[in-house]
Amino acid sequence: MSKITNILLVGVGGQGTLLASEILSEALKQAGFDVKKSEIHGMSQRGGSVVSHVRFGKEVHSPIIPEGEADILLGFELLESYRYLPLLKKGGKVVVNDLKINPSIVSTGGGSYPEGLADKIRRSFPDCIVLDGAELAISAGSAKAANTVLIGALSKQLDIDEKFWLAAIEKMVPAKALEINKKAFFLGRNVA
């Protein structure tokens, strides 16, 4: 069976995780791969945890990544990244945004946000990349472009020509935000 690459994108509703997975899928399609993507809409829109599976290769069957077989986890938030580690294969790659968003149980004082998650992730996945998406996005011109910063960081992990990434961003991002997003993409790409 030909090699399939599995990328799991995880975050919190409202972070632009789904748009990031759209950009990723489009870049992969333009690079000539078969691509499948799966995620759950509906209830998850209301501030819930968001998971998007993207798979590519010569021929992809299942739209969801078999448990324990994700090659890369792109995390938009620390707790969600840690939560989905079991889906990642041993020796898989983690690229994670250094951001904490409190779940409602924590923000209402009914629990605490777990400490030291980045270290815990590093313990299992030592070459994990932790970056501050918001800070880089702000230096690109808008905090809203943090998801594109993360796509930039992810792009370094995949052998896909830069032109396909840019073409995908041009297709998926509204014209007025394009320059900022391209800048954000390169800032992320240079971190990793």
Partner: protein
């Protein structure tokens, strides 16, 4: 040309390519995006109906008029549309009619996980089941051809993974040369009274026999012969998992799941040593294969509850599993009402009044979750009102007072009107709260008859809810702003105490409505940390904008100015006047 499309986008494209004239639906996850996407194609009249039954009846009318019609809904929507569906099976069609049922195994966003393949068998209509977006498009086209060739409605069944999953689709040009719609009277076919229906029933039975023969040679039912020690009959998304987990197994991939291709199944069974059926939810294929006298393994190893995954299939076939990292127990992240949601104050009030709340389907079902914890029942669209009527019939008067039905504007128009009519007619002393937020919110802000706009974005008549309720015979009708807590509490309490039916309409738009001038964001409020005593009363609202912060010994509340919409509900619950306009 190739595009990455979701299954729903691909069905919309397929309907366009098939020359569909009319598309009707009631929104419901995971089906909603089909109609939202179909409006990009010129020449299709697409509309939201008040409910699925009406949507199907609109589709039937279009079909009888000679146009091709697409009707889409979520799995439980077919329950609502079942009445016309079963008789449509008798009449058959004029222009092709395809009914999409978007099932939700695992109940990602549903109240049950019924397997709607059973409807195909029950209503005696053919059903196709695509396994990716390309098939979603291609099968939609094929379904229209089958519908007209065999004079039958055709069901197209997707599941959440096919509806929302995206994959690459090769687009085609639309069909040409379809006959122009025109009035054609054919009472023997279209007037289903007993004498005509008795003639149609044998036709249906013959149609099923013919469809079964057709299925045996239909290209979407295909044998993929590989290693013959294991043979798997499968369809839809489970086909993809079988290919993933058992890449060497021989597969009979069924594109049409009803009626089943009997000859093809026998041929496949003979070619393989051991036969399995891999299907999600019910043993729908398995039972029929067993009834053919063929030995097969299915639900003995494949779970009957929830959706399948490659991992579950690995377990079922005792295949090795990869080593997985373990993580600590973590706080969950359930969905929540948005900051500024107009429902929040009402559920806070109902909680305070210790109401017994018969709930309904919508964002407000989240009022069940702590800390609001103010919902006691939730069955289906519109059920809350009937449930309230029924429960008052068995309770003593002092307990009857506690019963309050809550229902959204769109859900009320979907199937709450008849329930309220019954409540008045049969004199049930309950209170109904219609949460009018100007939109169908849960499924992603769709227009409805009370929003004043159509799916195509045209302005239209806006139903007047107080007038409608008045016409049903309700004498006590109160309209309130749900963000005024004191007023809400006073009015709801008064109506609860009244020993006759009453309706409270809460008016405040959903914070997600994008149309200009509907929802106006207010200035964010802030907590004065000098005044805040850390009593946590505001946290009982469960607003995502209010955050608890440990501050030395004692904690204080903090309001995230990015999230706060200035609804002022927290300001009203703060006894210490610590919350207010930012200084």
């Amino acid at each position: 040309m190739k595009e990455i499309l979701s299954g729903n986008e691909a069905i919309a494209r397929g309907a366009f390519e098939a020359g569909v004239k009319v598309a009707s639906a009631y929104p419901g996850t995971p089906s909603t995006e089909i109609l939202e996407n179909i409006i990009q194609y010129k020449g299709i009249d697409a509309s939201w109906s008040p409910n699925e039954k009406v949507a199907l009846e609109v589709g039937i009318g279009a079909s009888f008029g000679g146009g091709r019609a697409l009707v889409t809904m979520k799995h439980v929507g077919v329950n609502v549309a079942a009445d016309p569906l079963f008789t449509l099976s008798y009449t058959g069609v004029n222009g092709g009619l395809v009914l999409v049922t978007a099932d939700d195994p695992e109940m990602h966003s549903s109240q049950n996980e019924q397997d709607n393949r059973n409807y195909a068998k029950f209503a005696k209509v053919p059903m196709l089941e695509p396994a990716d977006s390309q098939e979603c498009k291609d099968f939609t086209r094929l379904a229209f051809a089958i519908s007209e060739q065999f004079d039958t409605p055709v069901m197209l069944r997707t599941t959440t993974r096919t509806s929302h999953g995206k994959s690459i689709v090769a687009l085609e040009e639309p069909v040409t040369g379809l006959p122009a719609p025109k009035l054609a009277r054919n009472a023997a076919k279209f007037v289903m009274l007993p004498s005509n229906a008795r003639v149609r029933h044998p036709f249906i039975e013959e149609r099923t026999v013919k469809l079964r023969q057709y299925a045996n040679t239909l290209h979407v039912n295909r044998m993929e012969m590989r290693d013959r020690s294991i043979g798997v009959i499968t369809s839809g998304i489970p086909y993809q998992y079988v290919r993933e987990v058992l890449p060497d197994a021989s597969v009979l991939k069924l594109g049409m799941v009803y009626p089943l291709p009997d000859m093809l199944i026998r041929e496949f069974a003979e070619k393989v040593d051991k036969l399995y059926v891999v299907e999600e939810l019910d043993p729908f294929i398995e039972d029929q294969v067993k009834a053919m006298g063929i030995e097969v393994i299915g639900k003995a190893i494949i779970p009957i509850c929830g959706e399948l995954t490659p991992g579950k299939l690995r377990k079922a076939f005792n295949l090795p599993e990869p080593e997985m990292s373990e993580v600590d127990t973590l706080p969950g992240r359930p969905p929540n009402m948005c900051p500024g949601c107009p429902h929040r104050g009402i559920f806070h009030t109902l909680n305070q009044l210790k109401a017994y709340v018969t709930g309904d389907i919508g964002c407000y079902t989240l009022g069940f979750l702590p800390p609001l914890s103010a919902m006691d029942t939730c069955i289906c669209m519109g059920a809350g009102i009937g449930n309230a009527t029924g429960i008052t019939k068995v309770l003593p008067p002092e307990e009857q007072q506690k019963v309050v039905a809550v229902i959204g504007d769109s859900t009320f128009l979907h199937s709450g009107i008849t329930g309220l009519l019954d409540m008045v007619y049969n004199k049930a002393p309950a209170t109904v709260i219609i949460l009018d937020n100007r939109i169908t919110a849960m499924t992603g802000r769709q227009e409805n008859p009370a929003s004043g706009f159509t799916l195509m974005g045209e302005e239209t008549f806006e139903v007047d809810l107080p007038q409608l309720v008045k016409a049903l015979g309700v004498k006590n009708i109160r309209v309130i702003d749900p963000s005024d807590l004191a007023e809400s509490k006073r009015v709801i309490k008064e109506e609860m105490e009244r020993p006759e039916p009453s309706v409270v309409i809460t008016r405040r738009p959903c914070v997600l409505i994008k149309r200009e001038g509907v929802f106006e964001r207010g200035a964010a409020v802030a907590v004065d940390v000098e005044v805040c005593t850390g009593c946590k009363a505001c946290l009982k609202l469960g607003c995502p904008a209010i955050v608890w912060q440990e501050d030395g010994k004692k904690g204080k509340a903090f309001i995230d100015p990015q999230l706060c919409t200035g609804c002022s509900v927290c300001e009203q619950v703060c006894k210490f006047i610590a919350i207010g306009a930012k200084k």
